[in-house]
């Protein structure tokens, strides 16, 4: 159970970090993204 919790928590943290990083990097270049990661117009 503890192992499962560790894995779930780790995956959530990693996903959040990379998701936010993608948004931040693209916005900094003037290329904002929608929540679905598609290019925002």
């Amino acid at each position: 159970m503890k192992t499962l919790k560790n894995w779930l928590l780790s995956l959530v943290i990693a996903f959040a970090v990379f998701y936010l990083m993608d948004h931040a990097i693209m916005s900094m270049q003037g290329l904002p993204l929608n929540m679905t990661m598609t290019p925002a117009q």
Partner: protein
């Protein structure tokens, strides 16, 4: 962080914790003096200009020369371009080596002081010994290059002297300073070895690196001025101060790229020295010593190599920003094919570095926990390598085009464009870092209470980073517009950097109080050591290749858009000719390196006292 990186060799016995402030002060003073000097030159030039009248200004400004056949000279039937090409390349190889070695030597020396382990000090001294032999050769080739340029391209060099003026004298002064400090640093090694004297010696190391790096940056300004001139008008007349001339748009990208590349190159060359010494070692103690030295060298080379593609990316981005035409010449025209050769060479470097790490894992029984992962890393590296070397357009006959159904292969065509290559490069770097991390964990038994979470977090970061790199490359690369394709490559790079930074941070925290498992230095197979020879050979070829690309983007200009090249060699040669020239320079350098290794080893050889006929020593 550096202690973390070198820790397997560290003696846990700590020395005194005095902070070496002197090195920092000396470095700052060096940088400050150089900045003041260059600024002073710029100020004096600007002040002088201000007091002149308009007539005087118009008289004093000299436009760039229009070069004709009489402005070029030739020795016999030897092509001037070919001669200067080889001499300049050899000088650059040697200069890169001698400027890089003191950088990591000073860091290793500092680690020796911090950990109290004399082995670091001995290793740093041995690295310097190899570098010292190369130093005089660097100066000899530098002198030959300068004389060749003045002899073969007198009008062009007169213009360069007109533009850079006293800055050239600054360069010469820095060279004198570099030589003086280098000799004092090397020969005072044992005189300034312990206590406060060691900090004086470390300060000399910092000063040496401050001067050496400034020297590199000053010389880079000449190369970047020829590519993207600044401080002159369209006619080539000097309109700005020396600072304006130096800080062209490509200066800092080239400074960073050469600085990092030099360290990787220097690490690879001393790695070959360690490999050579290890294979010729007669005792296990010697073999163990040189095995450790080889590992450290490989580590330096790989550590510096990992951020290098990003520095190269910045340089190319600035080249495109300065002139799209120049960027397209480099990556979309005749020179584009050389980027495929570059991929082969970088792939060789990464495969060799990984192979060495995998072999090195046999030094520790604890590595058996991780060896099952090697086949997956190897698979990723090989597939990524194949994608990276897939060309976009093929040189085909009409019949072949008809058979293929077009100029692009229906299945392999998509692998020929940048998004696929960005994915491949980033996955190769992530795979290499994973090999490195597994190696680092081989001799550790982690004891922290949160080890389970730490391992899961590290694995999750790898999984999500790899997924992110592939998603960004495929989705933005193939299904959105070009601007998103280019923009997403930055996020891909960041994904790789996050893996590296997170890996170092998590491991540093997890290794606290970890049980260290025994490591047997010298146990690595000879096959693994051969990888240490593959690295410098591939690095040398790569430098020759990319140096040629960087220089050739000027096409038929000596100074881009300012001075036209009207010599008989004012064209980009065909790839075969260029490859032969690079190979000549590379092989010549490797012969010089063998000579340097031999001379460095010669100092350790002592002749036995001859025995006379009576059996007594005479």
């Amino acid at each position: 962080m550096l202690t973390y990186l070198f820790k397997p060799f560290a003696n846990t016995q700590k020395g005194e914790t005095k902070q070496p402030l002197l090195p920092v002060i000396l470095l700052l003073l060096t940088i400050l003096s150089v900045m003041l000097l260059t600024t002073e030159l710029a100020w004096s030039s600007e002040t002088a200009s201000a007091v002149e009248t308009a007539d005087e200004i118009s008289k004093s400004i000299k436009v760039a020369p229009k070069m004709g056949p009489s402005d070029y000279r030739q020795i016999g039937s030897v092509s001037s371009r070919a001669f200067v090409w080889v001499v300049a390349q050899l000088h650059l190889f040697l200069a890169a080596f001698v400027l890089a070695v003191p950088l990591f030597v000073t860091v290793i020396e500092w680690i020796g002081v911090k950990t109290g382990d004399q082995r670091y000090d001995d290793m740093a001294h041995e690295f310097m010994k190899v570098s010292m032999t190369a130093y005089s050769l660097t100066a000899l080739f530098g002198g030959t290059l300068a004389l060749s340029l003045f002899l073969l391209y007198p009008t062009f060099m007169a213009y360069m002297m007109e533009v850079f003026g006293s800055q050239v004298i600054v360069y010469a002064m820095l060279f004198f300073l570099e030589s003086g400090v280098l000799y004092i640093y090397y020969y005072s090694w044992y005189a300034l070895r312990y206590g406060n004297k060691k900090y004086v010696h470390l300060s000399l190391g910092v000063l040496l690196n401050g001067v050496g790096t400034t020297l590199l940056f000053v010389a880079n300004a000449w190369a970047t001025f020829m590519m993207a001139p600044s401080g002159v008008n369209e006619a080539g007349a000097v309109t700005g101060g020396i600072w304006e001339i130096m800080r062209g748009p490509l200066w800092n990208p080239l400074n960073l790229h050469r600085f990092v590349a030099n360290i990787a190159f220097g690490g690879a060359v001393v790695g070959a020295y360690a490999g050579y010494k290890m294979l010729s070692a007669r005792t296990m103690a010697q073999r163990a010593h040189y095995d450790w030295m080889g590992y450290t060298s490989n580590f330096i080379a790989v550590l510096a190599f990992l951020p290098l593609p990003f520095a190269g990316y910045w340089l190319m981005a600035e080249i495109y920003a300065y002139s799209q035409q120049m960027g397209i010449t480099a990556m979309g025209g005749i020179l584009a094919w050389l980027f495929i050769v570059q991929a082969v060479l970088i792939g060789t470097i990464l495969l060799a570095a990984n192979y060495y790490l995998w072999n090195g894992m046999s030094r520790c029984d604890g590595s058996k926990r991780y060896t099952w992962l090697i086949k997956y890393i190897a698979f990723t590296l090989v597939v990524s390598f194949l994608i990276w070397v897939t060309p976009h357009t093929l040189i085909l006959t009409a019949k072949e085009i008809a058979t293929l159904g077009g100029s692009h292969h229906p299945l392999l065509g998509p692998f020929g464009i940048m998004p696929a290559k960005n994915i491949a490069v980033n996955l190769m770097l992530i795979g290499t870092f994973l090999s490195f991390q597994l190696y680092r964990r081989s001799d550790k038994e982690i004891t922290v209470a949160w080890a389970g979470f730490g391992n899961a977090l590290m694995a999750a970061i790898y999984i999500v980073a790899i997924a992110n790199v592939i998603f960004l490359g495929v989705y933005y690369g193939y299904f959105t517009n070009t601007v998103y394709k280019v923009g997403s490559s930055v996020a891909q790079v960041m994904s790789t950097l996050i893996v590296i930074v997170a890996g170092v941070t998590i491991d540093t925290l997890m290794f606290k109080g970890a049980k260290t498992l025994p490591v047997t230095w010298g146990k690595i197979s000879n096959r693994g050591v051969y990888a240490l020879f593959a690295l410098p050979i591939a690095f040398t070829w790569l430098m020759a290749l990319m140096g040629y690309v960087r220089s050739s983007v000027r096409t038929h200009w000596h100074v881009y858009t300012v001075i036209k090249d009207n010599s008989t060699d004012n064209f980009i040669p065909n790839i075969g000719y260029a490859a032969n020239m690079m190979t000549v320079a590379t092989v010549a350098f490797l012969i010089l390196i063998l000579f340097i290794f031999w001379v460095a080893s010669l100092s350790e050889t002592k002749q036995e006292l001859p025995v006379n006929k009576n059996g007594n020593n005479s």
